[in-house]
Amino acid sequence: MYQYSEFDDAFVRERVAQFRAQVERRIDGSLTEDEFKPLRLMNGLYLQLHAYMLRVAIPYGTLNSVQMRQLAMIAERWDKGYGHFTTRQNIQFNWPRLADTPDILDALADVEMHAIQTSGNTIRNVTADHFAGAAADEIADPRPVAELIRQWSTDHPEFQFLPRKFKIAVTGSPNDRAVTRAHDIGLRMIRNEAGEAGFEVIVGGGLGRTPMIGKVIREFLPRADLLPYLEAIVSVYNALGRRDNKYKARIKITVAENGLDEFRARVDTRFRHLRSHFRGADQAMLERIERAFAPPAFRSAPLGRYETVRETDPAFRSWTDANLAPHRAEGYAIVTVSLKAHGATPGDATSGQMRALADLAERFGHDELRISHEQNVILPHVHRSDLPEVHSILGEHGLATANVGLISDIIACPGMDYCALATARSIPIAQEIARRFDALKLEHGIGELKIKISGCINACGHHHVGHIGILGLDRAGVENYQVTLGGDGTETAAIGERAGPGFPAEEIVPAVERLVHAYLDLRSGRRETFLQTYRRLGIGPFKAALYPERVDANAA
C-alpha cells in the first residue's frame, strides 16, 4: 500500500490545524455560516437532517487493518458505533458534533486518511475496481494510477472551484467493476497492438437528473501522457462548463452542448500546450507509487479442508458460490463480505464488525481490505484453505450473508432517513425487499439481479444502472417510487428505462415481486439472468407485470 511521505503527512496535518481554527472561529461567532460552510465542505463536513455528517475518503477503496480499526474507534468514540460505506468508496459518520470534527480528522491523519475533497466542486475521491491487484481478469493494478491522480488533484490550485463536482474512476480490467462509464472521466487500462500500456479515456458519463453513458474521447492514451491529458480535460471543462445553472454544470452537459468533436479539439489544443510542462516528475512519482503497490507474497499451499467443508456444509457452499471471485494467484480467492444481511441497512458496519474485518485481514488477508461501490467490504487475498475459518468468524459477527450479486445485495443511498437533499427514504425499501425475498427463499433461484435505490434524483444509489432501479420522489409530501428497468453499470453499460408511473411506499415491494415473478416465468432457463431476459424481450412483459390493471383496462 501507498504510505504517506513527509510532505503528505505535513499537508494533511496542516489542513486539520487550519480546520480546527475555523471551527473555533465558527463556534465563537467570528465566522458566519455563509463564511464557514465552504470551509467545512472542503473538509467533508455536511449538515444533514438530524446532525452533521463527515464523509471520509477511502482512496480507491483500499484500507489496511490499522485504518479499519481507527474507523471503528472513531465510530465508537465520536459517533453512534457504526459507519456507513457509500457508493463512492467513502465512509460516512452520521452523528458527529461540530466541536469534535477536528479531533476526528486528527485521528484520521494518524492513519494516513482524510476528508479532503469529499465535497465541493473539486475532483473527488478517485475510485477504482474494488478487486484491484487481485482479480484474475486484470491487465494491471489501477491503484498506482489512482494514487497518482489523487496526489495531482489534491489541492490542485486550478481545480478547487470547478463549475461542479468532478468524479474519476479507474479500472485495470476489461470487466468494468468501477462503473467507469458513469463518471466525469473514466479510465480503462488497456494495451495497444504494440503491447504498450495505456488508457481508453471516457468522458462525460454521469447519473443524476440527466443520466448519460460516457463517450470515448481518446481510444488509446499512452501512460506517460495521463496527467497532462487529464489536466487538459479538466481545464477545458473549467473554462467551458456552465456556471449559470447548477443542473447544467457537469461535464456531461458541457460535452453534450459543445459536441464531443469540438470538446476533443479543445482538449487536444490544451494538451499540446500542457504536455511540455510535464517533464517526467510525474512518471518518476508513478514508479515510486507502483513499488508501494507490489503484490503481497502469495503462498503456495494445499487447499486443505476447503473442498471437504464445501461438500459437507451447505451454508459454506452457498457462501462460496455467491461471495467469492477468481483470484490471480493460484489457491487464492477474493472474498466479498456482504454488508447486506437481510433487513440490515446497506453499507453499514458496526465498530465490532469493522474490528472483526480488520482482524481477518491481518490474519488471513495480507492486511488488505477494500470497500466496493456496491457497499460491501472485500478481503482481496485469502487463501482457499483459510476460507472455512474466515467464514466461521464472519458468521460470529453477522457478516456471513451469502448474497453477493443477488437480489438482496442492494445499493441504497442514505435517503431521507439522513440526507438533507433526499425526497424519499431508500433504506426501509431496501430492508423490506431483502426481507421479503429472504422469506420467499427465492433469492438463489433468481440468481444475479442488481437492485439500486436512490432517495432523490441525484442518484447516489445508482438507480439508473440497476437492473431494477428505484427512485424515491416526493409527491405532494408523500413518498413515491419510480421504477427503471434494464440499467447496467458494467462494460456493457446502459441507462435503465423508466417503466411508468410511480408507486406509493406500501406498493413498491409487491411491484418488485411481480417483476421478479415475471422474470422467473419468462426466462429461457436458469442460466439466463434478469438482465439477459430483459434484453431479449424488452420492457413490454415487465411493464405488464408492473401494471396489471392497465393491461386489464386495455383488454376490456
Binding site: E33, L47, H50, A51, W95, L98, R425, G477, V478, E479
Partner: protein
C-alpha cells in the same frame, strides 16, 4: 395574497453545535421538541419570526419555515421529511426518538 391561504408554519433549524433539529418557541428559545414550537398561523408573523431565527446564526443553522398542523399537544409536522426530523431515522432508534432525557447543551438553548 390573501391570508387564509397561508398554511400554518413552525420555524425550524439545526443547532450549530450538535447539528440536530430545533424549533423556535414563542418566547424566543430554541426547543428540541416540536410540540413546544410557536404555531404560526399568520403569514406576516411567520416571515418576521423567520428573520429573527436567521439572525440567531451563532446558535442555529439553516432556519426555514416548515408546514405544521395543530394538535392537542402543540404543533405537529405535516410533511414526511419533517416527521423524520422530529423523530430521527427509521432504520435505527437514534436521534430525537432515542433521548427523552435533558440534553447536555440544554442551557445553551434555553438562553433567550
Amino acid at each position: 395574497m390573501s391570508r387564509h391561504r397561508h398554511s400554518p408554519k413552525v420555524v425550524t433549524a439545526n443547532s450549530l453545535l450538535e447539528g440536530d433539529t430545533v424549533w423556535l418557541t414563542a418566547d424566543d428559545r430554541w426547543t428540541r421538541n416540536i410540540s413546544e414550537a410557536e404555531f404560526l398561523e399568520d403569514e406576516a408573523v411567520a416571515e418576521d419570526r423567520l428573520l429573527f431565527a436567521i439572525s440567531q446564526h451563532d446558535i442555529v443553522v439553516g432556519a426555514y419555515l416548515a408546514d405544521a398542523a395543530s394538535s392537542g399537544n402543540g404543533p405537529v409536522p405535516v410533511h414526511v421529511r419533517e416527521t423524520l426530523r422530529t423523530k430521527g431515522p427509521s432504520n435505527y432508534f437514534h436521534g430525537k426518538q432515542q433521548r427523552e432525557q435533558p440534553l447536555a447543551l440544554a442551557s445553551h438553548f434555553e438562553r433567550a
